[in-house]
């Protein structure tokens, strides 16, 4: 090493570089490297790691130093709403709204020893499904296309009241409450449902406005009118939704009144949420009392009831026992409502307010339920029947209107109630004739465990129900819902399923059938084997196929699929179900079908632990994946494609034929044909095949037999013909490089050569900009990265015997030279600079790394001086190019770039060049000076970059003081 050659002595100089090399006057001398010794020197000292130490990746644990707030006293609303790093107590966050009252209730309970409830019994916990959850469901479920009307004229009923001649002059203020401002009486007819909802919302707004502009009487009038709408049962199908809308207004009103009175008490300073009657001043009490007197004089029963219920909470301002006394009275008052539907919703509202304000007062909840039972026969009374005939509503439809209210009442009643009470309630329901409606709600609202334990009884009761009334499939649906959450006794399970399915299978309407069946699938999957599930699926297919009924039931069918997938994670069991694939075939709408396939694949990827070769699974999943793949068309969005590809890739990764590599390869061939439209899948396949080749190598311990050698060549051939089909240029480049490396590792030299050559030939096609996440970016950085990694591979690639020395390196450099780089870019020169270390490494006696069983150039040339000279010439040419470029930069406005390029060349020379050579030394010094000339290079950072530099820096100074 280190000998000087004249340029002429190099026989194989590439023609193109020849012309450039003319003015290169420096000889490039590679520093001799002893890689082993350097490695020893550079290795970091091993430091024992103390496990207890701080580690940046260790999860941060925050210790809560705050003392626990005792029983949430004080102002809870402010303290619990502040978001702290500590996980919030779910109970307190749930109770944000109701807490002050339950606190009050607790306070009153502790003062009156007769009410000795334990505290947790009085509160509504997270396990209580709040009204807000039901709201949306009701609004979505009870809709109508009929025309609605709002009657805002309240005074017209005067004629029916036998009032004596009362002159206009003495009309009292109380009576005035009954009608809104003179002239604004109006009846809005022919409203569509949406109009109606908007109207109600307007009323809600005008209530708030009236309140804020201090028109309290007007606000009250609005509320009275709204609640009066609840006594109107025309367009009865819409009643539940109407109830929801109007009770929203009542809630608003109740809140406004409460807040107003509360603020009156907090004149000097705010009173605590847990205030007692003594804290309330006289003015506030008087105002509160006024409200109650006003409401007590409302003429009509229903508005009076609702409005008083709405401000129930305000009783706290007047006396301790107010709520306790009012609730039973209001409960009894509901008996005066003749229409059973109106009455049951009034009860639901009262229960709701009661649960919010005083959850410990269970008695009135129970009373409500018992009153409901007592007046249950009203539902089948003549008045109701006549109304239904007029409105042309059928009994089953009518009965379902009751469900939300009865569900709610029972939910309140059953909440943390002892089993004894629940049993009693059930017994009472049993005694009533035609109790299907109640039975349904009982199953819906009582604890699933309670229902599950008595499932057989319930089935008996359901059977006894009258066919004409409440639809039986709904009953079984409710039962199924409970059984999905709680388990009935082991021995009863099969009889339950048999009994239930006997009824379900008889349901005629496909829609009703599937709604019910969907629920029971969960129970079946949970407790039984594939045999029973298969039977159920067969039954579903039988019901849903005629007249293509499945077309209207995709959501339910999807849910069935979801439930099966939740319980069956073993795919060989799943696919061995005879009816599973036929069931899958029912999803014939493309979008739904793909959706279902995706959910199957998601579950597969999530739960399949080990690679599989089971032909049943493979066939079925290949079919599923093909369905997903075939859904891709020109209109498919990128994200969708990506997610599909991700799922298919997950599948491909899970396929393994163990030692049967050829089978695996043929699977990949098949997969390539199947998934040709999804590029990421193709990429994955290439990776899989490369992996397969490497696996073969591992199995053979590095030396291939004839058979395996042929196989790895087949793998290489697979990659080689697959890669060109990719559109992404960088994917192609990287895969060529990777496949080349794999081929090299498997001693397939000509294949490796072909890959690398292909990569080089693709290089000119790289566009200047590529789109990254939808934005156009310059491709330069990516290209530089690729070239660097390509260069490092080239070290070990032996030269082709028929081509010249360093054929690939030259080819690459030629491509780089020809490539149309961006204007004002140093990329080309940077490539040249980074080629220098490669050339330096190539000139070593033994290479930094080699591939076992592959002879690199070190062995081929054996350090032949001609070879080394050839390398030196190439270096000279490159350095010459760089210096030339530096010169042009000096002329233009590129001094900063000049400095940085000069510095990087300098550091490359330092690291890889032999500075004992005078010319090279001089060049390095010049470069150093150049890089610091314009002051763009911070000496300290540049010096402290690496110990090697520091060392060399000293060396330089020694030579040139």
């Amino acid at each position: 090493m280190g000998s000087v050659y004249s340029p002429n002595s190099c026989p194989n100089f590439p023609t193109r570089f020849h012309s450039i090399a003319l003015y290169s006057v420096f000889f490039r001398h590679a520093r001799v490297r002893k890689y082993g010794a350097e490695l020893q020197r550079c290795r970091l000292d091993a430091v024992p790691v103390d496990l207890g130490d701080y580690h940046p990746l260790k999860p941060i644990t925050v210790t809560d130093s705050r003392s626990r707030r005792g029983g949430r006293k004080g102002s809870t609303s402010s303290s619990s709403s502040s978001s702290s790093s500590v996980a919030p107590d779910p109970l307190s966050s749930m109770l944000e709204g109701t807490d002050p009252l339950s606190l009050f209730a607790a306070a009153s309970a502790s003062e009156t020893p007769t009410l000795s409830h334990s505290k947790n019994e009085e509160e509504v916990g997270a396990d209580f499904e709040p009204w807000s959850a039901k709201r949306g469901e009701i609004l979505a479920r009870f809709t109508t296309t009929e025309k609605l009307s709002i009657n805002l004229f309240m005074g017209s009923d005067k004629t029916s009241s036998p009032s004596s001649a009362v002159s206009e002059k003495v009309r009292t203020r109380l009576e005035e409450l009954d009608d809104l401002e003179e002239g604004s009486q109006r009846e809005l007819l022919n409203l569509s449902q949406q109009d109606y909802v908007n109207r109600i919302e307007e009323l809600n707004q005008s209530l708030k406005e009236a309140w804020s502009s201090d028109q309290k009487v007007k606000a009250l009038k609005i509320v009275i009118q709204c609640s009066k709408l609840l006594s109107d049962t025309s367009v009865i199908q819409f009643y539940p939704s109407k109830f929801v809308l109007i009770t929203d207004i009542l809630d608003t009103f109740g809140r406004l009144v409460y807040e107003r009175i509360w603020s009156m008490c907090s004149d000097p300073r705010p009173i605590p949420d847990s205030f007692s009657v003594e804290d309330v001043n006289d003015t506030a009490k008087e105002t509160c009392l006024n409200w109650f007197f006003k409401i007590a004089s409302i003429r009509e029963l229903i508005p009076r009831l609702y409005v008083e219920a709405a401000i129930l909470k305000c009783n706290r301002f007047l006396n301790k026992t107010g709520i306790q006394e009012t609730l039973p009275r209001l409960t009894a008052m509901i008996r005066g409502i003749g229409d059973p539907l109106v009455a049951v919703y009034a009860r639901a509202y009262l229960c709701r307010v009661g649960m919010e304000v005083a959850p410990h007062l269970k008695d009135s909840l129970n009373k409500n339920f018992f009153d409901l039972l007592a007046s249950f026969r009203q539902i089948h009374g003549d008045t109701v029947q006549n109304q239904l005939v007029i409105q042309r509503v059928e009994i089953p439809v009518y009965l379902t209107l009751y469900s939300p209210a009865i569900h709610w009442i029972l939910q309140c009643v059953a909440y943390r109630a002892p089993d004894v009470l629940l049993t009693e309630m059930m017994e009472r329901c049993k005694k009533l004739g035609n109790n299907a409606l109640l039975l349904n709600s009982v199953m819906w609202a009582f604890r699933p465990e309670f229902v599950a334990a008595r499932a057989t009884d319930f089935i008996g009761m359901i059977k006894d129900c009258d066919e004409a009334g409440f639809p039986k499939h709904l009953l079984f649906g409710s039962l199924g819902r409970s059984l999905a959450c709680a388990d009935p006794p082991e021995s009863e399970r099969l009889p339950i399923l048999n009994e239930a399915w006997k009824v379900i299978t008889k349901v005629r309407s496909p829609q009703d059938y599937i709604n019910c069946a969907e629920i029971w699938v969960e129970f079946t999957c949970r407790h039984f084997t594939k045999r029973e599930v298969n039977t159920v699926l067969a039954d579903i297919i039988k019901h849903m196929t005629p007249d293509r009924a499945f077309e209207d039931a995709y959501p339910q069918l999807q849910s069935v699929m979801k439930k099966i997938l939740t319980y069956f994670h073993n795919f060989s069991v799943l696919f061995s179900m005879e009816k599973f694939l036929p069931f899958l075939d029912m999803f014939q709408k493309d979008s739904v079908r793909v959706e279902v396939c995706k959910s199957i694949m998601e579950v597969f990827i999530k739960h399949q632990q080990e690679p599989t070769r089971d032909p049943v699974i493979l066939n079925a999943l290949l079919h599923v994946c093909k369905t997903m793949h075939d859904s891709v068309n020109a209109l498919t969005v990128e994200d969708e494609k990506r997610s599909l590809a991700l799922l298919i890739n997950g599948f491909i990764r899970m396929v393994s034929f163990g030692r049967d590599f050829e089978q695996q390869l043929s699977f990949c061939v098949e997969a390539r044909a199947t998934f040709c439209n999804l590029e990421p899948v193709i990429i994955q396949l290439i990776h899989t095949v490369n992996q397969l080749a490497m696996e073969t190598r591992r199995v053979m311990g590095g030396s291939h037999s004839r058979k395996t050698a042929a196989f790895v060549r087949a793998c290489a051939a697979y990659s080689f013909i697959t890669i060109p089909s990719l559109t992404s240029i960088f994917s192609r480049l990287h895969l060529y490089l990777l496949s080349g490396q794999v081929a090299l590792a498997n001693q397939c030299l000509s294949q490796a050569d072909a890959f690398l050559k292909a990569a080089v030939s693709v290089l000119p096609e790289v566009p200047r900009t590529i789109s990254v996440e939808g934005k156009q970016r310059s491709s330069e950085a990516f290209l530089l990265d690729f070239i660097n990694s390509f260069l490092s591979t080239l070290l070990v690639v032996p030269d082709h015997p028929e081509q010249g020395v360093l054929y690939l390196v030259r080819g690459l450099l030629n491509m780089v030279q020809d490539y149309t780089w961006e204007d004002n870019s140093d990329a080309k020169v940077r490539v040249y600079i980074s080629a220098l270390p490669l050339l330096a490494a190539m000139s070593q006696e033994s290479y930094l790394y080699t591939i076992p069983k592959v002879d690199s150039n070190e062995t081929l040339y054996g350090g032949d001086p001609k070879f080394v000279a050839e390398i030196s010439r190439l270096c000279e040419t490159l350095i010459g190019q760089v210096l030339d470029h530096l010169k042009t930069l000096g002329r233009e406005e590129g001094v900063r770039r000049q400095g940085s390029l000069a510095f990087s060349l300098f550091s490359t020379l330092l690291a890889h060049g032999d500075l004992r050579n005078n010319k090279l030394n001089q060049l390095a010094v010049n470069l150093w000076n150049l890089s610091h000339k314009n002051g763009h290079c911070d000496t300290r950072t540049s010096v402290s970059l690496s110990p090697t530099y520091t060392f060399s820096y000293k060396l330089l100074n020694d030579f040139h003081p």
Partner: protein, 297 residues
């Protein structure tokens, strides 16, 4: 006008009893000093009687309106003519509530033909070019609680077609049986009227059941008596065809101001009654009347 005159009573609910002291402050708010020619306070309790044109002829009613009866009256001068400084000035006052002579202070009552009202008025006389200011406020008088214990005297009632009076064609009436009871007809005015009502059977669906509170006012004058019954309020306790056999609560709060303990004096009487009104779907109207005696305890 930058001067504001206000009267504020010490009690938030403005309720006083005979023998107590009506206390409060006159509040004058103004930016600048106010020149005045004296501020005075007048307290007055009056019974206004009016004859209805139904009982007597229109002209008689017009000419023979009965003179108001003064129950209490007093007048004090709060400030002599002078100046009230700018800002907020509060002048406290007190009135003893003692009836004139041998009269007694009746409870505040707002009716149609009888009105018992207590007012407090503040006048500020001002020099030329400025309007006199005046502010009136009403205060409530509650009479002394009754000493003797109230006997609730509950009543049971049954209404059937046979119990009805005033029926033209008894045969055309639908059949019905309605039973019920009132917990008391001697009622404490601060307590609600309570009871229960059961529709045991009814051939025709019920449309509505209401409680009608009626005042019966009697005015005596030289020409004779005028007795008139008018409605105070109507409270619906049942709407629609209610469940048969299930007791429906009767519950009515006596409105303030419009009711007072039953009153009987030499010149006038104020009594109360409640009607249970049942409206059937064919618009038959059945009424059962119960006289009430209200008292305060």
């Amino acid at each position: 006008m930058s001067v504001a005159l206000d009267l504020r009573l010490k009690r938030a609910n403005k309720v006083y009893h005979e023998g107590e002291v009506l206390a409060g402050v006159v509040v004058i708010t103004s930016k600048e000093a106010v020149q005045h020619q004296g501020i005075s306070l007048t307290m007055e309790g009056l019974v206004n009687l009016q004859l209805s044109s139904k009982s007597v002829g229109v002209f008689e009613a017009f000419y023979n309106s009965v003179k108001p009866i003064q129950l209490i009256s007093s007048n004090i001068e709060v400030a002599k003519p002078g100046k009230v400084p700018g800002g907020k000035t509060e002048i406290p006052f007190e009135f003893p509530l003692q009836a004139k002579g041998n009269k007694m202070l009746y409870e505040t009552y707002h009716g149609v033909f009888v009105n018992i009202q207590y007012t407090l008025r503040c006048d500020m006389r001002r020099p030329l070019l400025a309007k006199d200011l005046s502010k009136t406020c009403e205060f409530m008088l509650h009479c002394q609680p009754q000493k003797s214990k109230v006997q609730p005297t509950p009543v049971d009632f049954t209404i059937t077609p046979e119990t009805l009076q005033n029926v033209k064609e008894r045969t055309s009436l639908p059949k019905f049986v309605i039973r019920g009871h009132l917990d008391a007809t001697n009622c404490v005015i601060t307590q609600p009227l309570t009871g229960e009502l059961v529709v045991e059977s009814s051939e025709v669906a019920i449309k509505s059941i209401e409680l009608q509170l009626v005042r019966v006012e009697t005015c005596g004058c030289a020409e004779g008596y005028a007795r008139d019954a008018t409605e105070i309020q109507n409270i619906q306790i049942a709407e629609g065809d209610v469940c048969h056999g299930l007791p429906i609560p009767i519950y009515m709060v006596f409105p303030r101001l419009f009711t007072c303990p039953t009153l009987e004096t030499t010149n006038f009487k104020v009594e109360f009654e409640v009607n249970v009104v049942i409206v059937l779907h064919d618009d038959h109207l059945i009424t059962e009347n119960f006289p009430l005696k209200l008292c305060r305890v």
